[in-house]
């Protein structure tokens, strides 16, 4: 069965403030969706709410992955169901090596008694690290500790490649990346494109979309998707900015949940 990820009427709040005001989205295997929008419009909240970050409370709506109710699942269960979020600010965890962490994550999928052999794991990890031009010694470094911004982002992509998810959400994966790192990350994503996998790319710059061509582009403002289109929409946003969208829709302040 082809992957299907459906978000319907999703509302979410943080500390009592409503940020998502009803999001509808459907991503099928093989599709790449991009969500664009200025800062403060709820894009990252959408990513966090979908993954189940404890700070965000979903107040309404429905999310399913292949028909299964995502909102009923714990964070780990969402991951096991096939959801992957490359985070904007990955945590640093001292004392836990990158490879121990990745192996734990892979084995969590495979289940007890079916753990990946160490040799096979190392071989896979080394291959993927090479593709992402990550220094091999990073396997033994503590998870994200002392990594530069770009190294952290590449490490997120490494995890994505190793975990083979069905739905990938990339939250501002391009922020803090120089042009070389951006190309490497984009190559990693493109290598993972397949009929079984859907992508949701969250960004406020169009430049990432020069490397990864989306099938659908959505503009988010005030906690809603206010406009959707094809790749040409991203190009127009790059050329003309967001003001014309605001004008067209009569929006004065596009942000949500922020103090005036």
């Amino acid at each position: 069965m082809a992957t299907s990820f459906v978000v319907e009427g999703l509302k979410a709040e943080i500390e009592g403030k409503e940020i998502l005001k009803g999001i509808d989205l459907e991503i099928k295997g093989g599709e790449i969706h991009a969500i664009m929008g200025p800062n403060g419009t709820g894009k990252s909240t959408l990513a966090s709410a979908l993954m189940g970050h404890p700070k965000y409370e979903v107040t309404d709506g429905k999310v399913t992955i292949d028909g299964e109710d995502v909102l009923e699942m714990g964070v780990d269960e969402r991951a096991l169901a096939g959801l992957f979020l490359a985070m904007q600010y990955p945590s640093e965890i001292a004392g836990v090596t990158n490879s121990d962490f990745l192996r734990s994550a892979i084995n969590a999928r495979r289940g007890e008694g079916n753990e990946i052999s160490l040799i096979k794991f190392i071989r896979q990890m080394e291959t993927k690290m090479k593709e992402l031009e990550i220094n091999p010694e990073f396997a033994h470094r503590y998870l994200n500790e002392g990594f530069s911004g770009g190294e952290k982002k590449r490490n997120e992509i490494l995890q994505m490649m190793m975990l083979d998810p069905k739905i990938v959400i990339l939250d501002e994966i391009d922020s803090g990346l120089d042009i070389d790192a951006l190309r490497i990350v984009a190559n990693g994503v493109n290598a993972m494109r397949s009929e079984e996998r859907g992508f949701l790319i969250i960004t406020h710059y169009q430049r990432l979309l020069n490397y990864i061509t989306p099938d659908y582009v959505h503009v988010m403002m005030q906690g809603r998707i206010v406009k959707s289109g094809g790749p040409e929409l991203a190009e127009r946003l790059e050329r003309d900015g967001y003001d014309w969208v605001k004008e067209e829709l009569g929006i004065v302040d596009e942000t949500v949940g922020q103090e005036a």
């Binding site: 970050h53 404890p54 991951a79 985070m87 965890i93 836990v96 734990s104 994550a105």
Partner: protein, 433 residues
Amino acid sequence: MTTQIVLPVNPEQLRSSSSGSGEPAWLTDSRVDALKLAADLELPTLEKTKIERWDLNHFGSWTSSAPALKEQLPEQVASFVNLQENSNLLVQQNHAIVFAQLSADLAEKGVIFTDLQTAARDHEDLVKPYLHSIIKPEENRLSALHSALWNGGVFLYVPKNVEVDIPLQSIFLVDSTETVFAPHVLIVAGENSRVTYVDNYISGDYSESIVHNGAAEVIAKDGAKVQFATVHHLNATTTDYTIRRAMLGNDASIEWIVGEMNSGDSASETLTILKGNGSNSDAKVIAVGSGSQRLNYTTKAVHFGKSSESQMITRAVMREQASAIINGITKIEKGATKADGQQTEKVLMLSPKARGDANPILLIDEDDVTAGHAASVGQVNQEQIYYLMSRGISREQAERLIIYGFLAPVVSDIPLEQLQQQLQGLVERKLGQ
């Protein structure tokens, strides 16, 4: 106010029992003098801990009689040792040593590894000058009681220039609350010698209260290198009070590796006196607290020697309602120029009811030194848990990774692989995983 103290034995009984069992007169006198002191001294003062509320009355009765050594290891200790022909092992069960083995090779080199009571009789010249020389009976009631009542115990002597490659091991097993359990470890490492000593404190099956009032003294002569690893995992009805101290000569070094894995109330002090120029002390402590344990762990370095260096690291994980006071004291005396003292104490709390307190203290009376400290106390970071879980790792496994990660800088530095694995296993057990 002096709280009423019931001594486990009166001075006359102690005197007759000690001399009756063939202890030399100087030892009998030292015991009796210490016992008299105990009656007048107060309990030790511990930072932010009311030790007078602890169960410190159940010492058991004192006896100096020692059973004959056994051919076989007591069953409870078998899993802690890998006994081979060249193993060097002492096992104390309750009040006396019950098993002893020293390889012929080491005996030939002049290494002495025997119970302290025997050593006091057979090697007076090597024992008498050092016994209670750095942990003195007059310090407080518990040190006096220990000096009066210590039993079994370990004496390890390594002659000048002798390097011992295989660790010497002892196991202190308490499985009865009837007799005093107060082993004393005395290590004398001659000039330019090298030795590794490892011990375990374990409980058998009992549910009555008992106090372990233990002490270890290490004398490292000029150029000697001593590694001292100790793991305590006494049960919940055992109150553990342990003092460990080392005295370093010129260019001597000690490495302490301490695993505090008890289940009952526990206090310990691990102190190095850096008397010699160029001496070096390194202390690594990991501790796990659970249940309603009250813990007070101190690492301390006192610098007298020029260019002496000390490092101290304590990492403690507290779960349930356990509370821990973690103290680090670096003292640099006037004249200890170019000394360097560094310390770190960190406490990780796994439950809202767990308590932790880290107290780094630097006391510096010399200008020409470097010293530093770092301390932190905190709960498990929920962002980290979320991050790990977002990759499919369960909450339990995520916490486990974070806890091991927290302890890793100490555990991964432990130079003995077997000990590393044992500690790992104990941490796991204490964390209920």
